[in-house]
């Protein structure tokens, strides 16, 4: 291998070099800004995590698996996964092997950063070695892999259904420029290398193409324009990158270590939120996932468009999109880069200015009405006698069938319980939190905390997943165990305290958003249902369960706008033709019950119905 030019330079490297310098400086400045915007403690935590071996290793692993291999997309759809990893990993390997080439053959050129990219223009093959042909083979192979990915990407633009996507994002103008330049890079590289292959050498792809070209083209005249075009495509891509969705490539490399350091959204637009917004690849997976998507009018209110509008600072649209969302969290659950659509929206809501603000100082934190041991208590031997405080929640007050069933179960289990809000209580604060009014939510949390602590309870039992989520995340109850009734019932059955009878009724379980995605409770309700009948699954279940449409998360969606969502969620539940729909949320129950063609019940009702004899030991 020898060099063709003493200078090791040609003007055509300029577009690429300028583009690369621009994008690297842009990213460095952007990264410093994002880190600077973090609260001091978060920043400190971030830097410490970078040098902690465990997180360091996790960062490297995550960046490799997520940014290059795209494992999450593979899990969703093989073809979509291949498309992403072929482009990302293939391109990455082209860069790596390109550098190896330079190291091996022209080590004195290592400091020229464009050299590995345009290596074949600058060298001529003198002898054919085993090592050389292996490297050339690898370069051609990875180029072929990338090209196959590009071909798939073009097909995807036309027929996204093949990739498991019903709907995709509408690209913006800059997205299109970026996309076309990205698509052009690799075919142009192939062309340039093919024209050069009889001088520089090549492998199965470039060499063969070179033979084809020589048969009808005087190829050396085409060489330089091809390299120019290749460099220009790269240059354009780098220059438009900050204004396109492809900004997600560099940002995700920053987002992953920030997330691994345990950093959360603290500001609606700055720091971590900004990193998330810019990490959005605009892939549009959230569009199909969004339960509001059943109505076409709502498609532009999905997370991908929220991110786009935040980048454009379109305040009116940001407000509209954030307030409409049901906060079901499904977009967050399926997002391949981990953009938290629900939390981002709550953050946007939190910067609204209100003239009238709540004040709960006049509400007494009164626990005097809470009385334990009002019923016969038969704590089974070998089991600690616990004082269970049952908090039904606001929504359960409107579906009394649930609290009545729960009381019946508690009595059948011989538990020592008190019904905290039989006569009405103070809201848990979650709805207030979801509307972004954190200070008011905190006041409610404090009030309830005071009451619960004063009651002397050992366990706080909840029926409403909306309450459950905030109790788990924001309440500090000093050792009082917080438990949802699905888990409580599962425990009673597992311990043999309740022995429900079983028959061949077919049940389907609907995962409520706040219980499933919100708190990760998927198994307990399923175990419970299996003990009384046959459990069938909905088409989309667990973390992909579809919101019932009744969520308190949405501030603006009116009652009449939710019907289509509920009907869609119901259709998803009944694909296995169950006899009864079971859920574990009062809001889901009443929402479904309105439109369902078959019985809808809470898991507490199901179990209470199936326990005829009480077990006392």
């Amino acid at each position: 291998m020898r060099e063709r030019f003493l200078t090791g330079y040609n003007d055509f490297v300029l577009p690429f070099s300028l583009g690369l310098i621009f994008i690297i400086s842009y990213c460095v400045v952007g990264m410093i800004r994002i880190l600077h915007q973090l609260p001091a403690e978060d920043r400190k935590r971030f830097f410490i995590s970078l040098v902690t071996p465990a997180t360091m290793w996790k960062n490297i692993k995550d960046i490799f698996l997520k940014c290059l291999i795209h494992v999450d997309i593979w899990k969703r759809n093989k073809l979509l996964g291949y498309m992403h990893s072929s482009i990302a990993f293939g391109w990455f390997m082209l860069i790596v092997v390109g550098h190896i080439e330079v190291f091996l053959y022209t080590p004195h050129r290592v400091k020229l950063f464009y050299y590995p990219i345009f290596f074949r223009y600058f060298v001529a093959e003198t002898e054919s070695t085993m090592r050389g042909s292996l490297i050339f083979f690898l370069m051609d192979l990875f180029l072929l892999i990338v090209l196959s990915g590009i071909a798939l990407a073009i097909i995807k633009r036309v027929r996204s259904v093949m990739f498991g996507m019903r709907r995709t994002t509408n690209p913006s103008f800059f997205d299109l420029v970026g996309q076309y330049s990205l698509w052009a890079i690799f075919p142009l590289r192939l062309l340039a290398e093919a024209f050069t292959a009889d001088i520089s050498g090549g492998s199965f792809l470039t060499k063969s193409l070179n033979y084809v070209f020589t048969s009808f083209l005087s190829n050396h005249a085409n060489m330089l324009p091809a390299w120019w075009a290749y460099s220009c495509a790269l240059g354009i891509f780098f220059f438009v990158l900050p204004f396109t969705r492809y900004m997600h490539i560099p940002t995700e490399i920053l987002l992953i270590p920030m997330r691994n350091a345990g950093i959360k959204i603290r500001n609606a637009r700055k720091g971590f939120a900004k990193a998330e917004v810019y990490s959005c690849p605009s892939c549009g997976l959230c569009i199909d996932a969004c339960p509001m998507g059943v109505m076409k009018a709502n498609i532009k209110d999905t997370t991908v468009y929220l991110n786009r509008q935040i980048r454009r600072r379109n305040e009116a649209r940001i407000e509209e999109i954030s307030d409409k969302c049901l906060l079901c969290g499904k977009c967050t659950a399926i997002c391949p880069v981990g953009v938290e659509g629900d939390k981002l929206r709550i953050a946007q809501r939190s910067i609204r200015k209100y003239n009238l603000n709540p004040d709960y100082s006049n509400i007494p934190a009164d626990a005097s009405g809470i009385e334990f041991a009002a019923h016969e208590v038969t704590a089974p031997s070998g089991r600690a006698r616990e004082k269970i405080l049952y908090f039904a929640g606001c929504m359960t007050a409107l579906t009394p069938v649930i609290s009545k069933a729960m009381e019946s179960i508690l009595k059948k289990a011989g538990a020592d319980y008190a019904f905290m809000d039989r006569d009405g209580g103070i809201c848990c604060g979650r709805p207030m939190f979801m509307s972004g009014r954190f200070d008011a939510a905190r006041m409610l949390v404090e009030k309830n905390t005071e009451i619960i602590k004063a009651s002397g309870a050992d366990v706080l039992l909840l029926s409403c997943p909306i309450c459950y989520k905030i109790f788990r995340e924001k309440y500090h109850l000093d050792g009082i165990r917080i438990i949802h009734h699905t888990e409580y019932i599962a425990g009673l059955i597992a311990d043999g305290i309740l022995k429900p009878s079983s028959d061949d009724t077919k049940y389907v379980y609907h995962d409520p958003c706040e219980l499933g995605r919100g708190c990760g409770v998927y198994e307990a309700p399923r175990e419970v249902i299996k003990s009384v009948g046959t459990l069938v699954e909905a088409q989309k279940n667990r973390k992909e369960s579809i919101c019932c449409g009744g969520s308190l998360g949405s501030l603006t969606l009116g009652f009449d706008k939710r019907r289509a969502m509920t009907e869609n969620a119901l259709a998803n539940l009944v694909t296995e033709s169950p006899d009864i729909i079971v859920t574990a949320c009062p809001l889901c129950r009443s929402t479904f019950n309105r439109y369902s063609d078959r019985p809808v019940e809470d898991i507490a009702e199901t179990i209470d119905r199936k326990i005829t004899k009480t077990v006392k030991s």
């Binding site: 009002a374 007050a397 409107l398 579906t399 009394p400 069938v401 009545k404 039989r422 006569d423 009652f559 009449d560 129950r589 009443s590 019950n593 309105r594």
Partner: protein
């Protein structure tokens, strides 16, 4: 040749129309899905505003319609449209070819269990207007204490005027029914406090206002303007009702021995099913759509198909009977026009 006239539904509208058609010289066929005639009225006790026994009304109508060809326990299996008539296949295997159909399939009572906050089917002392009426008729109900009653409440507009219950229409007769039932409860338990929770009282019919005045003046029934939004049960199993007394602007709570839900009218289940077979259009209120809501209330947009009674919307008994007679006359003229 005599034209077949098929009357679908053997409630009061169907019976009255049949009686009228018989007198006009036709021979109508009535099909009824249940095992008895008279529809909802047959399970009622007394009718407002004169406390006429419902049984007398049904007996008289049944006697007058006895000349008709009546099939009980019969439903429509399917409907075939022929060139100028319909071939109706019945569940008993008989098929009827007819050019004239009178739809008198009436209403269904709103399923009160769908209003979960009222706890129907959950609490021990919550019943519907129909349950109470059947209890008046002598049928025992474990939810209703025969011996003593201190306080009874009536909730108006359960499943009517309620978008959440998918029925934003007024069911029209529940207000006066509540007044009637409240009076009857008071007659049985003179010492009980009886409350009616209403949003608006709609006393539109003949003597309704007098009836209302009598309930207030003679029976001391207390009318509270406020819709009940939460019902709970205390430790003794009595029903605790929460409403706002909107006139005093204060939240209100009362403990009751019995809560009666005035379930509203929705278009009959079988009515909707048959309407789908023919097919007949359904109006935005969920009831069958008439050709015109002023001149042709009893005519469907389909040639030869007529309506009478509550299948086009909530109606009182006299209104239904008047419609049935009008529909019979319409049919008579229509058949004469065919010949």
């Amino acid at each position: 040749m005599k034209e077949n006239i098929l009357i679908i539904g053997g409630g009061i509208a169907g019976l009255e129309a049949a009686a009228m058609l018989l007198r006009l010289g036709h021979s109508p066929i009535i099909i009824e899905k249940s095992d008895r005639l008279g529809g909802h009225v047959a399970s009622w006790h007394k009718l407002f505003p004169d406390m006429t026994p419902a049984k007398d009304v049904v007996d008289r109508l049944t006697a007058e319609a006895s000349g008709a060809n009546i099939f009980l326990n019969t439903e429509i299996s399917f409907v075939n449209k022929l060139t100028d008539s319909y071939n109706i296949m019945l569940s008993n295997g008989i098929s009827i070819i007819t050019k004239v159909i009178l739809v008198t399939m009436g209403f269904s009572l709103f399923d009160a269990a769908k209003k979960e906050e009222y706890g129907y089917g959950v609490y021990d002392h919550v019943v519907t207007n129909r349950d109470l009426e059947q209890w008046f008729n002598g049928k025992d109900d474990p939810r209703i204490d025969n011996s003593a009653m201190n306080a009874v409440g009536f909730v108006h507009c359960v499943g009517s005027r309620d978008e959440k219950a998918k029925n934003s229409q007024c069911s029209k007769v529940c207000c006066i029914t509540a007044v009637k039932q409240a009076i009857e409860v008071k007659q049985k338990f003179p010492d009980a406090s009886v409350y009616c929770f209403y949003m608006d009282l709609r006393m539109f019919g003949k003597k309704f206002e007098d009836f209302y005045i009598s309930a207030q003046r003679d029976y001391g029934i207390r009318f509270i303007r406020g819709r009940v939004s939460e019902v709970s049960e205390n430790i003794e199993g009595r029903v605790v009702v929460k409403a706002e007394d909107t006139l005093s602007g204060k939240p209100l709570k009362v403990t009751l021995d019995l809560l009666v839900l005035m379930a509203g009218m929705v278009c009959g289940d079988s009515c909707t099913k048959v309407a789908g077979m023919i097919p007949l259009p359904v109006d935005s209120d969920g009831f069958l759509k008439s050709k015109d809501n002023i001149f042709d209330v009893m005519e469907s947009p389909k040639e030869g198909i007529f309506y009478a009674g509550a299948c086009t919307g909530p109606k009182t008994v006299p209104e239904t009977l008047a419609e049935a007679r009008a529909a019979a006359l319409d049919i008579h003229l229509y058949i004469n026009g065919l010949e």
